[in-house]
Point group: C2
Chain length 339, copies 2
DNA sequence: TTGAAAGCGCTAACAT
DNA sequence: ATGTTAGCGCTTTCAA
């Protein structure tokens, strides 16, 4: 073995003066090896800088100790905390997490699912329930354990670890209505293959339909993670002269912050001239001035629960149930009573 | 093959009526297979939902099409944009990215390096240059291509794709000095195994040493990513009565935002009562009020360049050179002339 | 252009 | 407690 080539079990075995099986046992089931032998092997491993080849290991044991997650994008802080928690729980069980990003494109999500499965992912974390039939067929045919996070449904077709976007937005809208607002606008990102946003919009609509003489305008902006585009949408809404909204509800905090910034740029005072709300309660919600009224989502708990669920399935407990996490409206200064 | 088990090359070969070698060629070198045969195989692959087993593939071809990255944490937005760009470039070349987080702990970083190598990572993205000798020895002995990002050094021992933290902070400090400030405090995260922070502090010190009758206090807070802890550090600094600083320079934007929030809580006006600066120019720098004077770091370009470099090495171009990216001071309202 | 067969590095069943 | 050995799924010679 030269210094440049990868050491293998045989190298370790030879150096330690034992068989390859013993080396393997030292690594995987150390309690089945005598203290003395283990020491010898450990020294040899250290000496050679040996790390087992994953391919061989996976092939022989049919266990990859790997899970996969596909998120829309890392740039939206919405996912960072949840995924970090997800990873931490997995790491505690010696499981490696593979992360890919789909850029909100279901085609790319499908490709990445296939890649991750090829890589040996024993389970998958997916965001939201909206994806092409083809993708679900693949998951089903290959019998791939998967958890859908960031949303929740009552159907029993999949396992969800999420929250009720519809209900949460309905609640927030009720709060807004209770404050006397009657003309409401929503700034939302695209809803194609994004059921979280769809549900949030429906939730707002449901709340409004119960109250007379209210109006709701939905303004779409091109992405879910660009504050600037939300600013443009805000500007256009302010040009309305019929049913000009007194409150702008944004489909997430990033867009809401964009709206607040634009309001400032237009010399409008939030909340005196216009109220603005968000959704998610990520860090910037507290940082922006005025602080953002939003819906708090327990991201860390969601990530942890999703990981635990996949670990349970991996351990053979196949009867895992969906978990619905609560959300709550967080009142801060960006929303106030209609004057 | 039941519906639940994984299809293998043999299944595909049988269904398409060809040999396994032909199936393999269809997947890897399609131009070496006749149009007609390829069609048959493609149909069979589709039919079975076949995805090649990574373990077998890696073992046989010794190519994993995989790179690894180990970042301190996902929760600090500092890394999100750079890593996203890094991943995008890799994905365009059909390379999967494996991401792990070390929590700023060099021991865990070392473990994750080993795991990623086991998984077949053909190259590694690492953050910063400070890590135990043991880690570098491992990288060297195994001859693992790696790029060090988020910092830059002139030594030729490693490949860097980063910026000069020392120089950037020196520049920012010069700006601060030019505005008449003479009593400066730094709020910084831990410097153990964090050369970026170390360099930033040294850079500030270097700038100050050139000017007479200046003072510099360095206040450490327990983490690099907690705004609240920075707030506490800020509070303690404000209790000084000798050489009370007129400007607080924070080692990153997250800490700076924490300081601003605390100033507000203490009814102090930024920048009238106290100036505050950050480092990184992440999204919140523009969002916080007042907007943060900070150092802009080209995170996307850094991630892209790092990916390109690793791809080049993978393609056999071993003579890659370090890349130093420029930074620039961004003046916003959190810093003003000393009155 | 295609097929037959060896072998990548490892684990696990079996034997001792 | 340890060794021997078959074989995981794939790619890649080599031969046809």
């Amino acid at each position: 073995m030269t210094a440049r080539s990868k050491p293998k079990v045989d190298d370790v075995a030879k150096l330690a003066g034992v068989s390859t099986a013993t080396v393997s046992r030292c690594l995987n089931t150390p309690d089945r090896v005598s203290e003395e032998t283990r020491k010898k092997v450990e020294v040899a491993v250290e000496e050679l800088g040996y790390t087992p080849n994953f391919g061989g290991r996976y092939l022989a044991s049919n266990s990859s100790k790997t899970m996969g997650a596909i998120i829309p994008t890392m740039e939206n802080a919405i996912f960072a905390r949840g995924i970090q928690a997800f990873q931490e729980v997995l790491a505690n069980s010696g499981i490696t997490l593979l992360i890919s990003t789909s850029g909100y494109d279901p085609e790319r999500e499908f490709e990445h699912i296939q890649t991750l499965i090829s890589q040996g992912a024993e389970g998958l974390l997916l965001i939201g329930a909206a994806r092409p039939k083809k993708t679900y067929e693949f998951l089903e045919r290959r019998n791939i354990p998967h958890v859908i996070a960031w949303n929740h449904r009552w159907d029993r077709k999949h396992i969800y670890v999420g929250f009720d976007n519809y209900f949460a937005m309905q609640e927030l809208t009720n709060t807004v209505l209770r404050m006397g607002h009657r003309h409401i606008a929503i700034i939302a990102g695209p809803t194609t293959y994004n059921d979280r946003i769809e549900d949030r919009i429906s939730g707002a609509q449901a709340a409004i339909e119960k109250i007379d003489e209210t109006s709701l305008i939905v303004k779409f902006c091109p992405t879910n993670y660009s504050a600037i585009q939300a600013g443009q949408a805000f500007e256009e809404l302010m040009e309305l002269d019929h049913h000009r909204p007194s409150v702008i509800m944004c489909s997430n905090d990033v867009l809401a912050v964009g709206a607040i910034m634009q309001a400032k740029a237009m010399n409008m005072n939030v909340p005196d001239d216009i109220s603005i709300t968000g959704f998610d309660d990520i860090e910037i919600a507290e940082i922006v001035a005025p602080a953002l009224t939003t819906v708090h989502v327990p991201h860390r708990r969601m990530g942890q629960a999703a990981a635990q669920l996949l670990l349970n399935i991996r351990a053979g407990k196949l009867d895992q149930k969906s978990i619905k996490l609560g959300t709550n409206v967080v009142l801060r200064n960006s929303l106030r009573h209609k004057t």
